[in-house]
Amino acid sequence: MPTVSLPPKGPLLTRTGWSSFFVALIVVCAVVPVLNLWIPAGSPFHMSDYAIALVGKIMCYAIAALAMDLIWGYTGILSLGHGLFFALGGYAMGMYLMRQIGRDGNYKSDLPDFMVFLDWKELPWHWMLSGSFTATLFLVVLVPGIVAGIFGFFAFRSRIKGVYFSIITQAMTFAAMLLFFRNETGFGGNNGFTDFKRILGMPMATTSMRMTLFVITGLVLLGFFLFAKWLVGSKYGRVLQAIRDAETRVMFSGYSPLGYKLSIWVISAVMCGVAGALYVTQVGIINPSEMSPANSIEIAIWAAVGGRATLIGPILGAFIVNGAKSWLTVAYPEFWLYFLGALFIAVTLFLPDGVVGLVKKLKGGRA
């Protein structure tokens, strides 16, 4: 049997790649905390708490965009339901944070405020594990993973793909949103969870806790970036890209795409769930609107703007779009949607490979 010789496997990152990675690491772990905590507030080098919160939030979005890129950019499956996994991770963390409020809520009850408001006497069954931080860490990973696994198994087994898959994922997140809006499902209805006070018994509103969460988020982002880099460079990643480019041929070559698609789908969902959990700790609120179809589409937009099938692209995209969003919604609230809309159209029409593709082109076609 003739063997196809694959090009030799390169190192995980090039020399410049590793240097930029370590620069990012130092920025996240040292420079930002120093700028925020030790430079006095009047100085031009001081990073305000607002900026920290914003960057922290965008790093969570960047993880979601990275997860989207694995499934869309590298496997060619556009999910319009990643907002659901993001929100599921967020809700798992939010339940823990709600329990941490303890008796400090408005009603001075052991139950979260909204349950007292609904006149519930005890915690519903799905809140059982929410008291433990360890269990919550597992839930953050397991809940999106299992939901994605079940949904993906049925979807991929019957070979739903392309546009059908996208639209069904959209229906999935829409259905979940309607469900979470209900009061009796026990997730706080349309207010969701908010007013968190403590994490692991420590107050959340302090600057040092904010900084800790910021650093953790940054480290998780960098870690996921390395993991994704390793994944797409491996043989597994190559099969994924083959599925993206010609699934039928992959099948005819003796591979079963089901396992590959399902596993990357679950991995992507889990990453998104972790991003959601980190997001809740930084933003301090989670509600069903995170599951709206529009939010899921926005995640795809970040990946597309930055450049699909590159790993740095989605991260850049998340920063560009959300940075622009937080600036424009304050400076020109009327024009933000025009800008976002125009951005989508311009990227699809003129920058099919996103910002990264543009940079490469400007550099002279070095792929």
């Binding site: 949904f151 979807a155 159209i345």
Partner: protein, 524 residues
């Protein structure tokens, strides 16, 4: 109570023909001890004419003043005589008529009963309806009298029902049984309450059996109404889904463009309707009832033009890349939404139904079909036939199908494929505009009108099978009816979730929808 009842019946017996309100009557109703006033009121009601009703109404609205033994009806800053209607000067020391609660209740009763003798059929029918909702034994004599005098058969039947509802509590067993028999024939939700109430207080066993039988009969009749009602609202929802999805069946089903801006094209149609309405209010207020006829073509053209512009400027560069069309059209939808917000404001605008669309047909006692729903169903059928004809029978339709099936060959045959694309997209968008025009008659018109329907619309097209008009029809009707039946069972939100779950499972079995495109492609 019973003394007054007897007295009332006595009065009925001796009462002659209706006569006009006299000054003495007005005086004795307005002035004196409560007991005497009530007696006078009861006497007046039996022979009530319109002036009496107006006077009782004025009393009930606290618009009557007295001075000495003169009675004044106050209208704004003037006063009139209740009997002659002549203008009077209101003396400065005129006193308000004080109605205690007992008197007030009596006035309300009298008013409802007096309306049973109104010359206007509609007022009489409405009055019977009010009385049926809360049957009150004390009204029996008046109802009997009205029943005897009634000439319009429909109202007479309703009055008979009302009489039955009152007689069912009679002391006389034969009368009760008779009344139960009458009530069993009716399929009015109100009679069910009456029968149930009686069943609880009924001492005699055989009457109880009769009551139960009557209840079962009424229940069966009501069940029919409920079922038909659910089917009707299902068809109504289905026809809306059909309108929403028909345009998408062309742009997505035939052209492969995932048009996330479809909802916003509908929104444009709805706003076009609003603009036409505004123009009619301003320039042709007399013809306001017909503004909708003008709005239909306007909303079609407005959306079609926007659609054609989108196709020319953006979409034609993206054919064959469905996921890219999704992103670009999403961007377009955001811009269109914001555009509408800038032009018309972020609030919903008010679009009114023309008079001929309000009201409805009463089919069964508990089933009435609103005209606006009926009109929309008819409209959906008309649009469907139009689209079917356009795609199946015209040269444009032929070209669209040809370009969809094999673009290069169609091009070789001399079809200007680029122009056909534009026409087809404009057609799909125009139909979205028609859907928006229809939606403006049943829902809110606001900047996020489209968002509420876009997921549903895609579901319908996916479920029906891409590129299949017949599939779209079945899917829309099926989803509409399924949704309404589940709604009766589980509530609106859970029904919606159940429908989405159903679609996901259904797609497992038939990934290509109800009607799959037949082909030999390995990709299928």
């Amino acid at each position: 109570m019973s003394i007054r009842n007897t007295f009332l019946i006595l009065l009925l017996v001796i009462a002659g023909h209706a006569h006009a309100l006299t000054a003495d009557e007005a005086k004795s109703i307005a002035i004196g001890e409560t007991e005497d006033r009530m007696t006078a009121l009861a006497k007046a009601v039996v022979n009530a004419d319109e002036k009496t009703v107006a006077f009782i109404q004025a009393l009930s609205d606290d618009q009557v003043k007295t001075q000495g033994d003169k009675v004044f009806v106050v209208q704004g800053d003037k006063a009139v005589d209740p009997v002659t209607g002549a203008a009077l000067t209101l003396p400065a020391d005129a006193e308000d008529v004080i109605n205690n609660n007992q008197m007030r209740g009596e006035l309300d009763n009298a008013l409802a009963a007096a309306k049973l003798f109104s010359k206007d059929d509609a007022v009489r029918a409405a009055s019977v309806k009010t009385l049926l909702a809360e049957p009150d034994e004390n009204k029996l004599p008046i109802v009997e009298k009205a029943f005897a005098a009634e000439t319009v058969p429909a109202i007479k039947a309703q009055l008979g029902l009302l009489r039955g509802a009152l007689l069912v509590n009679s002391e006389d067993k034969a009368k009760r049984l008779d009344a139960i028999k009458t009530l069993a024939e009716s399929s009015n939700p109100a009679t069910k309450t009456v029968l149930l109430a009686r069943l609880q207080n009924e001492p005699e066993a055989d009457v109880k059996v009769a009551l139960q039988a009557a209840l079962d009969k009424v229940d069966a009749a009501l069940a029919w109404g409920d079922k038909l009602g659910a089917v009707f609202s299902g068809i109504s929802l289905g026809s809306i889904l059909l309108l929403v999805a028909l345009g998408l069946a062309i742009t997505y089903g035939l052209m492969g463009v995932i048009n996330m801006a479809h909802g916003e094209l509908m929104m444009i149609g709805a706003y076009a309707t609003y603009v036409v309405q505004t123009v009619f209010i301003k320039y042709f207020p007399g013809a306001f009832d017909w503004y909708l006829l003008a709005a239909v073509p306007v909303s079609f053209l407005a959306s079609a033009l926007v659609g054609a512009a989108l196709e020319r400027s953006v979409l034609r560069f993206l054919y064959g890349r469905p996921l890219e069309t999704l992103l670009a059209t999403w961007g377009i939808s955001l811009m269109l939404q914001q555009g509408v917000r800038s032009l018309f404001g972020a609030q919903n605008v008010g679009v009114e139904n023309p008079v001929w669309m309000s009201g409805g047909v009463q089919v069964l006692a508990n089933l009435s079909l609103p005209y606006n729903r009926l009109v929309i169903i008819a409209f959906a059928v008309a649009v469907l036939l139009g689209v079917g004809w356009l795609i199946g029978r015209t040269r444009l339709g032929l070209f669209v199908r040809g370009v969809t099936q094999n673009r290069p060959i169609a091009s070789c045959m001399g079809v200007n494929t680029a122009r056909i694309d534009t026409y087809a997209f404009a057609l799909g968008s125009g139909i979205a505009g028609l859907a928006g025009c229809a939606l403006s008659q049943v829902g809110n018109v606001g900047p996020d009108l489209g968002q509420g329907y876009i997921v549903d619309a895609f579901m319908v097209v996916v479920l029906g099978g891409v590129g299949q008009l017949a599939g779209t029809v079945y899917a829309a009707m099926g989803l509409g009816i399924l949704n309404k039946f589940l709604e009766g069972w589980t509530g609106a939100v859970l029904a919606k979730i159940a429908v989405l779950a159903f679609i996901i499972i259904f797609i497992q079995k038939r990934p290509q929808g109800i009607f799959a495109m037949k082909g030999r492609s390995a990709e299928a």
